[in-house]
Amino acid sequence: MIDLNINLDLLEGASSPIVVKLADLTKGCKKKPDMVKVRCSPNRSIFGNWCSGEEEVSIGFSPKFNIEEGEIWLIFPAENKAKRFFRPSSNSNTLLFTERCDQKCIMCSQPPKNKDYLYWDLYFSALKELPNKTFFGISGGEPLLEKEQLFELLRKVISIRPDLKFHILTNAQHFSSDDISELTSLNKNILWGIPLYSTNDAIHDKIVGKKGAFENLLGSMTVLYQSGAQIELRTVLLQQNVGYLSHIVNFIADKMPWISYWALMQLEPIGFARIEFLEKFYDHSQNFELVKLALDSAKIRGVTTKLYNFPSCTVNKPYRELSNKSISDWKNKFLDICSGCKEKQHCSGFFEWYNHTIGYQNLGTKYL
């Protein structure tokens, strides 16, 4: 969800939050609703029409404004605010309803805050409007801190929209065996993204800043297995765990062969990751050996693997097919050296906040 920098000037005196789905009026709109004027700053106007109440609301827009047909916005008239909930062309539409978390990972890209946005009815209305088969993210903070409400939302949405699939990022600290039956009914529509940073409990606990986290995590994994969950197990590459990557692979093959895949992720240089960055960031472009050892182990043990946020030219060729375009479009950039690179369309590129002076040493087409 992204805050939209527009001023709303609603002609009708609406006060409770509403969901709007943008429709291109130039293509003709069948409904004959009341007019509403939404003014965006600076100096640009979009005109829309809407029907109030629970049902469908739509806004028309001027094609000059950089928005797409089918975008879904949440509008908070009282605060004169709007958030973009969904954008059809985006590769990462994500709902964030709490910024609280019970862990404090040393590389957290979105450090926890004591803030919630708990508009469950609104989210339900918005999710209902998603296009067929949308893969929709839920992240945080830790979304499972609102477990009851979240499960209820998912239950309601999935029952009327079984085509939707959710990618939920959770630290897996909050599942218990009481959740098994509920999870079993939801799990077909969910891919859980769960972080595991080491097979050594002390190291994992230290990285996530919570004592007992590792043990909790493993307990949750049993619950998730028993409820037929699909799991993306995520490991952020750090100097603190680079020596343990092969252990993680073997641990997965030994203890959790049923997960969907393992994602090895390069560090996102923002949030806590920026603090003592040089003590955390592991520049695999200078030394690929330990990563290679882990990727080989994964092949040998039959663990499906994906690399996230690894620019193609930093990955040894035989392993390049494992890398993904993993960075959300709105924070994805490429560098000057990338111009004319043939790999660009498959390459993850960089985070918007990537700082090359303290980034990868060996970069560019000559390493392809």
Binding site: T222, L293, K299, G302, P318
Partner: protein, 453 residues
Amino acid sequence: MTNDAGNFFFGSSEIVQRLKENSIEPFFERFLFKKNFAFNNKNSLEYSSYAFNSALRRLTPNKLKYILVIPTLRCDLSCTYCQVSRASIKAKSFDWCDETVDRFIDFVNEYADTELKIEFQGGEPTLRLDLIKKIVDEVSKIRPSSTFIICTNLQNYSKELKNILHNKNVQISTSLDGSKKLHTQNRTKKMTSTEKFFTNLREVIKDIGHHRVSALPTISDFDQIMDVIKTYHSMGLNEVFLRPVNYQGFARKKHKESKNDVEKWIKAYCKAIDYIIEHNETEDQKIIETNLAIHLRRIFHPGQNGYVDLRSPNPVAQDYLVINYDGSFYPTDEARMLTRIGLIDLRIGSIKDGMDLEKINSLNQAQDNKNDKACKNCALQPFCGVDIIDKISRYQTVDYPTEKTYFCQFHMAVFTKIFDLFSKGDIRFLKTASLHLGGTYALSPALAGFNCD
């Protein structure tokens, strides 16, 4: 020591004793937990992993993934051990008719998986490139990620064949028995034909690349096995599938197999593996041996159940099917030949009349090593397989004791060799094993920690 999930470790007989007496020290107990041989309760990762892999090892695909098609039984060569009892090149009504092709496309549409592989066998399938082209074109429309393998003797590398190979999903498989002399002796009979074959093989490799060309030897003289490997290496073929001649069809009547032959083959094969291990240590261009790769995958990749020659249960006509030149269905190529020589009728339906479910069910009851007297007590059971058609073919009865079969003896020998090398921690073998499992030629922490001591 193995379990149903395929977890394993090596220990001394003393350790077995301790297990029997239940006198397990903390260190040993931790080891058993690590290997999923022990768990606290069913709500544990140990038990979950054990249960999952045990089930996965017995799971077979339930849609057709591999269809072996015989568009014609005619052939322009007559190899000494011809497996198919071929028809002569001019013979009539040994080809698929147009109606069969149309029915086949409908059949694929209805029953085949999205990841479908079609292998064209013969006879010499390239005598009917028109049929192959039509099948490739039509199937690609309805199953776009299908791949095709044309098994040819490569006596002709025609323009039409080249045209079909423009499609990157089409691969070539051919027979290469070893040196030119050997190949002439076994197959072509004339040196000129052999020369032609070698020229064509080189050309096709040049045109479409090594990764789309595979060659298979049939080894009749076990002393020549090293020459076979060397020939493959010199042709730049990195993968070799060492298989002994398997007299089938009419040839089986002529060549009675003796117990001696099995032992001789196992010895030759093991020697060849030692040679490959040595070769890989010293040469840059590494060799992969297909049998070894299959056995290693059966150990380390639970769920690798697509190989019908080594899996259990091994249900027929579920994910793999042979369709003969006359449109009839067989569970395997061997079954087709057994039927042709009149030993037993293993036809299980046809493209016109559909599957004979009754017959398929009765065959499938025996296609499971869970119920076999010998396999029940064998530590290799989770990795091994079952093949009653091979049993019938060699011993004419399904009741022949498994431990005396070629199947059992060969696979037991290969698995035993592999486990032996793992238990010794043979460094060069560990690197070759990594290579065969999809890794690089290097030591890997994934292939360690098997010994309990």
